[in-house]
Symmetry: C2
Subunit: 426 residues, 2 copies
Amino acid sequence: MEPGSQSLSRRRLLGVGAAGIAGVTVAAAGGAVGHDLLSDSPAAANTAADAVPFHGAHQAGITTPAQDRLHFVSFDVTTSKREELVALLKEWTRAAERMTRGKDAGPIGAVGGIPEAPPDDTGDALELPPSGLTLTIGFGPSLFTDANGKDRFGIAGKRPAALADLPLFPADKLDPARSGGDIAIQACANDPQVAVHAIRNLARIGFGTVSVRWSQLGFGRTSSTSRSQVTPRNLMGFKDGTRNLKAEDTKLLDEHLWAAPSDGAAWMAGGTYLVARRIRMMIETWDRTSLQEQEMIIGRAKGSGAPLTGKKEFDEPEFDTVGADKMPVIAKEAHVRLAHPDFNGGARLLRRGYNFVDGSDGLGRLDAGLFFLAFQRDPRKQFVPVQRSLARLDVLNEYIKHVGSAVYACPPGVRPGEYWGQSLFG
Amino acid sequence: MEPGSQSLSRRRLLGVGAAGIAGVTVAAAGGAVGHDLLSDSPAAANTAADAVPFHGAHQAGITTPAQDRLHFVSFDVTTSKREELVALLKEWTRAAERMTRGKDAGPIGAVGGIPEAPPDDTGDALELPPSGLTLTIGFGPSLFTDANGKDRFGIAGKRPAALADLPLFPADKLDPARSGGDIAIQACANDPQVAVHAIRNLARIGFGTVSVRWSQLGFGRTSSTSRSQVTPRNLMGFKDGTRNLKAEDTKLLDEHLWAAPSDGAAWMAGGTYLVARRIRMMIETWDRTSLQEQEMIIGRAKGSGAPLTGKKEFDEPEFDTVGADKMPVIAKEAHVRLAHPDFNGGARLLRRGYNFVDGSDGLGRLDAGLFFLAFQRDPRKQFVPVQRSLARLDVLNEYIKHVGSAVYACPPGVRPGEYWGQSLFG
């Protein structure tokens, strides 16, 4: 079935596809389901249930107003054959086009009449609406060259300079099993079942060509990417991402987010670079820290999110203001100061991270924190200097630990008929 | 602040409490937040954002229409002093009353004027509505007597016979670090941040008296507990819990769910017993199994959920029907047959489980499955015989593995002024 040739939702396919196979009438199957928010028309997302268009000049899932749930996966490529990799990218693109419209990844069971075959969709998102699903791909440094510098798929010469390996920062406690990877796919949706279903089906399709290196679930409210969204709170209980780049800042996005042809790697024009960091928070320790101390460390008021020198969340922090004790009101080591563009050569990021809680750690503590995701035009000039500054001085380091790290080149958007990474492999 | 003395939401408290402390005007703080679904009136949950009443004859979170998200925690009690345990149960109850109304667990920062103190709420659910939060407590066998049979808190004589340790079933692969525990609290909500916030704050309050043994996050769509909900799908892609006990089955609930005074442990009347099992699914293997085989194993059609002998989901399975090959249409080992009350002495369960995906397992597979939660009047007559039958014959065992297990006595509901477990300790 060609993408775009029809617009059956998962619900409709259930009626005419699977249910038919199972010997059930369409009416019977239709009667068993029902979701108030179900929409058959893939269009701009007006509600949490709607579809977000997959095609465009840029990939969706970057400036798309941040959905509430995440399933992020990093794959190792297990084949050494370029044509197998390209075939997979094509097959993934077709499945992504379907799933972001609220369809299944492929027909359940055998439309061609072979119930002996495994279903082309796992079925766990049947009856669910598109739920704002976006799927965003990125290519890691290791896809271009292996650990010995060998060109793996004939693309080593196209590796962008901006896709440099991240340096090791002071205090990094990286777990290799939670770091790196050849290909990442970020699934964001307003329903975790829809995000999980998408990643699971892409992994299923990739069986034999890629294998899951690591994956991460997350839930929302750590960054807004649109002025239509309120600033959410991270698990430290503070508003996070007040100064985030937003979809509406189109001029700033050209300056700080989107790779330009003049940046050197022509195939990346309209793409961007993603830094992913799993940041464990020592939340039990944090929770026993006084409010005063917490606010000093962050440099903002916990309740309002205002800088300690201001009254409202979006007031500009005044770093030179001193208190009665002649000390800066916003401490020299405060997070808001160290991360501020004024102290980092104007560096801005489009952050799109998620909270995570992965059960507990066997020592009576929640295994929780921030899965930091930040998109940018050149990590060497943006994430790296900011993180150097934070890693060196930030008093927050007593309460957080970077345990996973990865960087990816996210190619430009896909137009109808194209496939993910076509400008790199085509 | 006494429960019930006022009805400020988290949002209001932010205005008059934390924001005031931070030196911000109420209007400024109010202007920075905004949530369409926010409601100040704790009442029956009409929308996903509303509050579910905490008080009642039974605990909430059992027959409450299943919310979409779960954070479940099992604690070890670290104190040996009964009075400290009782004091914690009282403090937890007050915090649970507040949080289920959409308030914070306690004032953020020091309403009494001591910013040197840690906040009495962690802040990560400020501005969020009650979101249908329910908090449900259960007491494990180990709370009554330790491994040597010693009475820990003077309640050994009150241990109900129905709170028997679960037997080890064939094929169990239990991880002690994911099993057992003295006290469990189930937090269900329609927003994961609200469920996580509640468990985190209860753990914070319990510091020094209890420590987290294990915890589990889950997302919805594995069971309905009300006829107002459609039957959801588990990660095998099949409708799950079609035959579940539902809130509307009041007569069946008295028979199969609620403990009665005549059951032996008077303090448990109106309570129920909870069996929790972490069931890992080998979903990659399942996804490569043919549709025909999947449907044979379950005994239902994947699309419609109808038994293989029927046309619609709620058709009664006909176990005696044979096909052209003279074999039963619903196989002897099919899950739907082995789990059916007709083959298990009429045993019924109120299932309230959740899907989970906890990243991946380091072998390229998603660490995913079903966190099975089932409430019942007596596990010895309900869960145990059903699970014995399933563990012995179920062909599904090739695709699933029980890796965690626990059983708890969930006391009856709390009335205003009472505390969790008062009938046991009072």
